[in-house]
């Protein structure tokens, strides 16, 4: 075995501290009994129970006992190490011991909170404490690894979250690489007409920020670009970005827009235009695009498809059109990464009974958003699919794809509010139209949100509480003729209701990006059950991820409105700014290492490392862990068939000792029992 553990005869002096956590633990677990029992372990010198171990007096108990009783190892049985491992490691260090000579037993989440059975919880607490004691005597002192932080930051996604984060950092004097997949930054917010509940013009508050980004010398803006690879670790990431050919020489283009104007090829704008407007084959999504250079869409360009046209080249006054332009691969180094990749909208076609895509006058929320926008295809006029008829009645269906076991079980958080906004805009544009909002529950938590709902109640909107069953054009009587009929149970009246309307708007929910999982793998973090990026802690570390140096902001973490998204963009930027001003960080020394002289060179481990931290030395025929890249996940440690990879702080001896300690009362040693039957 490789542990530098002293022989068992040389006993460690362990101090055990059982936390009451108020009544969180002591209400279920007999903490006194656990402490008294733990003290019987021959290695345990002192076992105490205390009301709040995380309080300063609780921590002082540890510090004083180390000094007065000469403790060499510390065990605290309390909450999850996620909460207070750091606290107690520091207390251990202040007492004069290496902080890694500490072990935590989680008797709250794994004990008192898991059951009401006091006896069972107490018995489990004993097992967990015993496991920790048996483990901690095998702990070795470890030193943290200092790493310099590169002050540059990569931000992926140029929506309002990414824009906010980029500006915060850049204005603080730090360089930012802002990578955006589309030809312009702006994201979802650029598609929206008005924002709830204040009804400010979305573009009016967004575009100044976009201009700031474009003009800030500290921001390298890479639009129409995608991150191809990410290597390295906190402080030292190496990034490769593919800057797709937009067939426009940026240095020459003056953004005059003449190419776009003269381009003969019209294309349905599926992306920014939500499929209800046209753009050209060479285009900017909207006039205020940043950067202002257009993108040439090769798939729809007449020249690229037929070899003839070149109108844009002929009209360009600065000869900026370059049909030969190729993708550029750019590499650069950053210290931190913020992902602000946004969301996809639920595709309402997945609910066929709502008729979207089949019934002409069923619109998606984004279609309506574009239509009602003054710069949209109808210049803000609300009309039916025929482009001229104003609807006299409109139904707005909430929770499309959300709060639905067949699709997404979660609430998309913004749909109630934007549905109310739609109702308001209809009243504003078509004062005589009847508006029906079909909702399950009205969810308006947010500053000024409930007030907005009340405003709508007074504006004459009909609110019908009930999930819509079907939208059909099959009329049953003359009054329904030529209408869309919204079938729903009005749960407040307890009746089935058929509501004939001219137009239906489906308030689609928010979904994780279709490629969120690929992105999460690229950046080596995780996605949750619904496909959104996983935060490190739902309450206390909402913009951090489990990968150091990688942060998340906005709707890529879960459904969010604009204020929350902006707040997260700022929060992620401040996390990064903190690391930049620290200059160096101390990385956990929990890393794998290979004992080269004992490695047989079998190469089992070579393909396993998710962080590419293992290399093979072709001369010595041994494998080697690159310490700085290793994240201590333990995959290689478990896989190494000859046991020559050590996982610091998770050695075989430590893990086995803990297991045996936990199983202290169920060890029926099969070999010492009576053999003869």
């Amino acid at each position: 075995m490789t542990d530098q553990k002293k022989s068992p005869a040389e006993q460690e002096k362990v101090g055990v501290y059982i936390c009451h956590c108020g009544s969180n633990i002591a209400g279920t677990i007999n903490v006194e009994e656990v402490a008294q029992w733990a003290e019987k372990n021959p290695n345990v010198v002192v076992a105490r129970n205390y009301e709040f171990m995380c309080s300063s007096t609780g921590q002082e108990l540890i510090e004083n006992d180390i000094k007065e009783k000469g403790l060499t190892r510390i065990v605290v049985a309390s909450c999850s190490p996620h909460m207070h491992e750091k606290t107690f490691r520091e207390a251990t260090e202040r007492g004069g011991l290496n902080p890694f000579l500490f072990e935590m037993a989680n008797i709250r989440e794994h004990g008192s909170w898991a059951t009401n059975d006091k006896e069972a919880a107490t018995s489990k607490a004993k097992a967990l404490v015993n496991g920790a004691v048996e483990r901690v005597v095998h702990h070795a002192p470890l030193e943290k690894i200092p790493v310099d932080i590169n002050p540059n930051t990569l931000i992926v996604g140029g929506g309002i979250a990414g824009i906010t984060a980029a500006l915060e950092l850049a204005e603080g004097g730090h360089h930012v690489y802002l990578v955006e997949r589309e030809g312009t930054i702006g994201g979802r917010m650029a598609q929206i007409d008005k924002t709830f509940p204040t009804l400010d013009c979305s573009a009016c508050i967004l575009t100044p920020k976009m201009v700031d980004v474009g003009q800030n010398d500290n921001i390298t803006l890479l639009t129409y670009s995608e991150v191809e690879s990410v290597e390295g670790y906190i402080g030292n990431f190496n990034i490769t970005v593919r800057k797709k050919a937009r067939c426009v020489t940026e240095e020459l283009c003056t953004s005059c827009g003449i190419c776009e104007e003269k381009c003969p090829q019209k294309v349905i704008d599926e992306n920014y235009g939500a499929g209800i407007s046209y753009r050209k084959a060479i285009y900017r999504s909207f006039p205020q695009a940043v950067p202002g250079y257009p993108v040439l869409d090769k798939e729809n360009c007449t020249y690229f498809q037929t070899g003839k046209c070149k109108v844009c080249e002929q009209v360009c006054p600065t000869e900026a059109i370059d049909y030969e332009q190729e993708d550029k691969v750019i590499t650069f180094d950053v210290g931190n990464i913020i992902l602000a990749t946004g969301y996809d909208l639920f595709d309402a076609r997945q609910i066929p009974q709502y008729g979207y895509g089949r019934l002409a006058n069923v619109f998606s929320s984004l279609e309506f958003e574009r239509m009602v926008n003054a710069s949209g295809p109808t210049a803000g006029h609300i009309v039916l699919r025929d482009g001229v008829t104003e609807p006299e009645s409109i139904a707005i269906v909430h929770c499309v794809g959300s709060r639905d076991q067949n699709h997404n079980e979660y609430c998309s958080k913004v749909c109630c509010m934007y549905s109310l906004k739609f109702a308001h805009l209809v009243h504003e544009h078509l004062p005589d139209a009847e508006v029906y909002n079909f909702y399950i529950d009205m969810r308006t938590p947010g500053k000024g949100y409930e007030e907005f709902y009340h405003r709508l109640l007074n504006e004459g909107t009909h609110f019908i509480r009930g999930r819509v069953a079907e939208i059909t054009d099959a009329d049953r009587h003359p009054g329904e003729e030529g209408k869309l009929i919204v079938q729903a149970e009005n749960t407040l009246l307890g009746i089935q209701q058929r509501t004939p309307v001219d137009m239906v708007i489906l308030s689609a929910g928010i979904e994780a990006r279709h490629d969120a999982e690929d992105v999460s793998k690229l950046f080596k973090m995780g996605c949750d059950h619904d496909g959104f990026f996983n935060e490190r802690h739902p309450k206390l570390a909402p913009v951090s991820t489990m990968t150091d140096g990688v942060f998340i902001a906005g709707a890529c973490q879960g459904p969010k409105d604009i204020p929350d998204t902006v707040a997260q963009g700022g929060a992620a930027a401040s996390q990064v700014a903190k690391l930049i001003s620290q200059g160096t960080v101390l990385m956990e020394p929990v890393r794998a290492s290979i004992r080269e002289e004992e490695c047989s060179g079998c190469r089992i481990c070579n393909t396993l490392c998710p962080y590419n931290a293992i290399e093979f030395d072709e001369e010595k025929f041994v494998s080697r862990v690159i310490t700085a890249l290793c994240q201590g996940c333990g995959t290689c440690v478990a896989a190494c068939p000859s046991g020559v990879i050590d996982g610091a702080h998770f050695t075989y001896t430590q893990v086995m000792a803990e297991l045996k300690g936990v199983l202290w009362d169920v060890q029926s040693d099969v070999l010492t029992k009576q053999e003869v039957a």
């Binding site: 047989s600 068939p641 003869v676 039957a677």
Partner: protein, 339 residues
Amino acid sequence: MTENGKPKLAMYWASSCGGCEISVLNIHENILTVDEVFDIAFFPCIADFKIKDVEAYPDGYIDICLFNGAIRNSENEEMAQLLRQKSKVLVAFGSCAYEGCIPALSNLTTKKATFEKVYFNNPTIDNPDRILPQHSTEVAEGELTLPHFYHTVKSLDQVVEVDYFIPGCPPEPPQIWAVLQVVIGALTAGQPLPPAGSIIGAGTMALCDECTREKKEKTIKRFFRPYEIQPNPDQCLLEQGIICMGIATRSGCGALCPSVGIGCRGCYGPPDGVEDQGAKMLSAIASVLDVGHESMDEDVLEELIQEAVDTIADPAGTFYRFSMAHSILKRVKNGKGAA
């Protein structure tokens, strides 16, 4: 045997096949040197001794005892205790004594099932009266006894203290001779012996260190049984889908099996630093299994993985072929917690 001042050598077989004795004799003419240096005090395979002869020896009379075979029954255990008492140095010789070997595979089943297989459901047995061996049988002349058959096969160190372990099934003759030379050196020239408890007559690292096949990064799509594939003569066998235990097996044999295209069986036991050879092997193989893709549905992926895993015939018997007695698994449950 006359007192001539020569050190005394013993070799005993408990539950074993006899291969270990053959392997000792396989050191060829060196056996003459052994005879020259040692007096044989007990060696049932090659000379006629009775237990009462051994019982009559004073304690520690035998200088070195090579004990092979596992502890299958009460007689094996009694002999282990007797020889421990009579020997200065007790060596667990060969895989059975060291870690249970083939006999210990029966720890994967029960005593009852073993008896049923051997005495009832065996194609070469006709036992219409369903007679089973009994510990005690009354006959006209009095009581006859047989040793107790244990539920659990143990290694030698699980019943008595062992000074050294020589792995192998059987240990390779050059390694045996090397060990004997060390012992002879110690006895005749006062040279130092290895520290007690050592594994001797073997390397410390995994067998791959001795294997000359070319090793690359490993990704395995499926496994092949030896008859299903003609292995490439130069490439790592495991990479070709042939179960080769070399990655989790102690070096020392010179990679004999892999050098002729047969996957290492693992008879030298785990290398230094590994407690459970089978678990390590399983963990390593699971790590390099390369089927499907992460983007696949979990159900589909599970099916593909199962298909690939199903190409391993008898995983427990393969991975724990030699080390069952020393494994963390210990044995299958045996009703009512009886061991």
